[in-house]
Symmetry: C2
Subunit: 124 residues, 2 copies
């Protein structure tokens, strides 16, 4: 059983966290999604935390957990903070396969989508 855990930064603005939860529902229902379970967690300022999110996946029977950093660039959150949180949970559950996928901004398609969006914004 494979779980997908989307990690967002988290915001003091609760509507922003809610936006991530709604995106997670859309992702769960998306025809391309091949995870058995799809949920989200937050690095800071919102709940569930990353350890709580991983724990829920395990409690729901996950044997593989793909932690997906929903971040645009490879700052400290992606390189240090998320790996540190995940590492602690891996130590606690060595029998579960928990791995961190490439972050969202690393996708080549991001520049195409960005160019499409900005060109709409610039239209006369």
């Amino acid at each position: 059983m494979k779980s997908l855990l989307l990690i967002a930064h988290g915001s003091r603005r609760e509507a922003s966290n809610e936006e991530i939860r709604e995106l997670t529902i859309k992702l769960r229902q998306h025809p391309s999604n091949n995870a058995d379970n799809t949920s989200c967690a937050f690095l800071e300022l919102a709940e569930p935390s990353i350890p709580e999110g991983i724990q829920s996946c395990i409690d729901n029977g996950a044997k593989t957990i793909v932690v997906y950093p929903y971040f645009l660039s490879k700052g400290r959150h992606v390189t240090e903070d998320i790996p540190a949180e995940v590492a602690r949970k891996k130590l606690e559950y060595p029998e579960i396969d928990i791995f961190i996928a490439g972050y969202f901004g690393a996708a080549d398609e991001v520049v195409d989508l960005l160019a499409q969006q900005t060109s709409h914004a610039l239209k006369p």
Copy 2:
């Protein structure tokens, strides 16, 4: 003359800021891009700042500046911090048309790209 100014958060990790600068070059060269000038600025932790970025657009002859928040969710940075920086510059240059476009994460296509990326990550 229309300028596109991509706004990223900025990071203590300089490689992350460099990643945004490289993305800006790709965006500048993208066939869909219809801006006369394309540059980037950072909300914090990196240079140029938003006021500096807007000033460069003006110095380069921009009459219209589209400020594009390269952010995934509508947190305080998108709702308050970027508008505050832009508002100050608009007061200084009332003759220049400076406006803030919708942020990146608001695009409907984001969930499709996200589903595509996460499904790759989950492949057996």
